[in-house]
Each structure stands twice: as C-alpha cells, then as structure tokens.
Symmetry: C2
Subunit: 157 residues, 2 copies
DNA sequence: GTCGGTGCAAATGCTTTGCATTGAT
DNA sequence: ATCAATGCAAAGCATTTGCACCGAC
C-alpha cells in the first residue's frame, strides 16, 4: 500500500489551481516583504515543485524545468530554494549526505513525518504525545524545548 | 563490502576505559575478516573517537589527532571512518548539510538529538519510550517502522 | 537611474581517489 | 615478494558566489 502524497488532491487535475494560487500568494507576499520580486523563473520553480508529490532534489527540479522547456539556471534554482525555505513554503529533509532533499512544508499540521524508504512518499502527522515526551526529555537534561522534528522511516508492505 | 557485523556488547557504558579494549577487539576482528590491518593510525583514530563523549565531525577528529601529536592524514581519517562505520562501531548522524557527523554506535540507538539552537552543541540521547510511540504511530497508518530520528531544538537558558 | 534578478563560470568546502611510497607478514 | 596502508595532491560533487548584463519601476 503506497503512502498518500503529502498533498491530498495532487492527483486530481482540477485541484492544482486551487493549490497553486495560495502558495503563489504566500510566496509573493513573503518576497514583497523583503522588497524582492516575484519573477517568472521563481513562479516556474514554485509551480514545478507543487507538481511534485514527493521529496525532491535540486537537480531533479532543474531537470524537470528543462524538460518543460523552461530555461532556468542552476544558480537561480538554488537561490529560489533558499527563498522558498525562508518563506516557510518548503523545508529541507535530511535523507542522505549526497544532496539536499526538500518537500512542501505548507499544509503540514505536524512535525512528524512518515517517510516511505522505497517510494519517497511522505505523510505528515501531528502527535500530541510527542510534545509531552519531548519536554520530559529536555527537562531531564535541564533544557527547554523550542521545537522538534520526528522522522520515521517506514516500508509500505 | 561491509565488514563483519559486530555482536552487541554488554559493556557497562559508565566506564569509558573498559570500553576501549572491547572496541579495539571488535574493530580488529572486523578488519581481520576482510584481510585488513589494524594499523597504528587506525588505533589512534579509534581511541580518539572513544574519548569523545558527543557527536564529532571529521575535521574535529583530525584536529584532535594533530593536537595529540599524531600525524594522520585527512585521507586516512576519512578512510578509517568508513571502515568503522561498516564495522558498526560508529554511525553517521544527519545533522546538517555542512559536514558529516558521527557518533559511537555501540550500545546505543542514539536517534534522539538535543540541538542547542544558540551554541550548536548537540547531545545524543536514547529514548526507549520513543520506539513504542513510533510503532504506535505507524500502526495507526498501517505501516511498519524501520528507523526513526528525533531532533529537539533547545535553548540552554 | 537605481535595484534586484539572471546566467555563466569560477570558487567553495567536504569528501574521495590516483598514485607513488612505505610497511607488515 | 606480496598486498594493503599511508600521505599528498588532485579530482569530484553539490552548492555558492562574483560579475556583467538585463529588466522593472
């Protein structure tokens, strides 16, 4: 049983527009607040990311953009990834040492990820008990928790 | 070509000095099984790692070795880290994209990290209850957990 | 005209590797 | 004598950056 993609209706062809708009708006607002511009390149990159329904890597993103006939440079891709990350639209997921993996961060309720090690699909969930446990662990070390991130690597069979 | 896996060792982890012998022996055995040699450089590297009580990075290891008057090359350090990892004596910990972090793998699951957001200092700790919680979460999704990783971001004051 | 954006190529910085030399059995 | 280990420097690789040019306001 394959995992559900992080975006519930990404396979529904009528849905993307509903998703793209809000994210575009969020990105545009984040850029504007820094006096930065919402350029065609940045729009294409965001749209392409939205079309992914799993973890993705920078070079995969670049390849997809090129395959779509968009000419975006590697430098711009990396620069935009950083912008999207500071805007909270995507987040880095440390999977291996080879390259950076990212995923959409918007619409995630929780900070617990179930990552399918075979397909790369991700489920994001909220685990209230984890907060208690986390605070208990920190208290035992005389520290105060600010945030946490749990990744569980799973197999779907 | 992974080295011969190590057997779990029941050494009392509160006595660092007693750990040095068993780990040397484990490493030596793992090397021997592949017709590799337990050289002075490898011994020094392992001893230095054992003396660390937290996560460490390759360049930190190299610096420490040099400070101790041992002349070990960067290449040998990296090569030995890989050997120690295949032998199951150390394990890589994904903390950031900058460089590889490692920790002793013996006698610990070590999958919970307390990361100080101000100083960058990292404590690796074991949380047995987390495994139950993790399995519960997976079960709720009809999945099977293979591994997990919890990062808690803390402040020290 | 002023800023920021882009692409290219060069630079980074960690890690790996090729190669000649050295060392152990 | 053989086979592996070491050190050095060079190579690899993902990512970043310097710079010249372009475009929007």
């Amino acid at each position: 049983m394959p995992l559900e993609p992080i975006k519930p209706n990404s396979t529904d062809s009528s849905a993307p527009n509903e998703l793209i708009e809000p994210l575009c708006a969020i990105f545009r607002r984040a850029l504007k607040s820094e006096n930065l511009k919402y350029t065609p390149e940045r729009a294409q990159i965001l749209d392409t990311i939205i079309a992914f329904d799993t973890l993705f890597e920078a070079d995969q993103l670049l390849d997809t953009l090129k395959a779509q006939g968009h000419s975006v440079s590697k430098a711009t891709v990396y620069r935009t990834l950083k912008l999207l990350e500071s805007a909270g639209i995507i987040q880095q997921v440390l999977v291996d040492r080879e390259q950076s993996h990212y995923q959409l961060a918007i619409g995630q309720t929780g900070n617990t990820l179930l990552i399918d090690t075979e397909t790369g699909h991700i489920i994001s969930t909220e685990v209230p008990e984890l907060i208690e446990l986390r605070d208990k662990i920190c208290a035992a070390h005389g520290l105060t928790a600010q945030a946490h991130k749990l990744q569980i690597f799973v197999s779907s069979n």
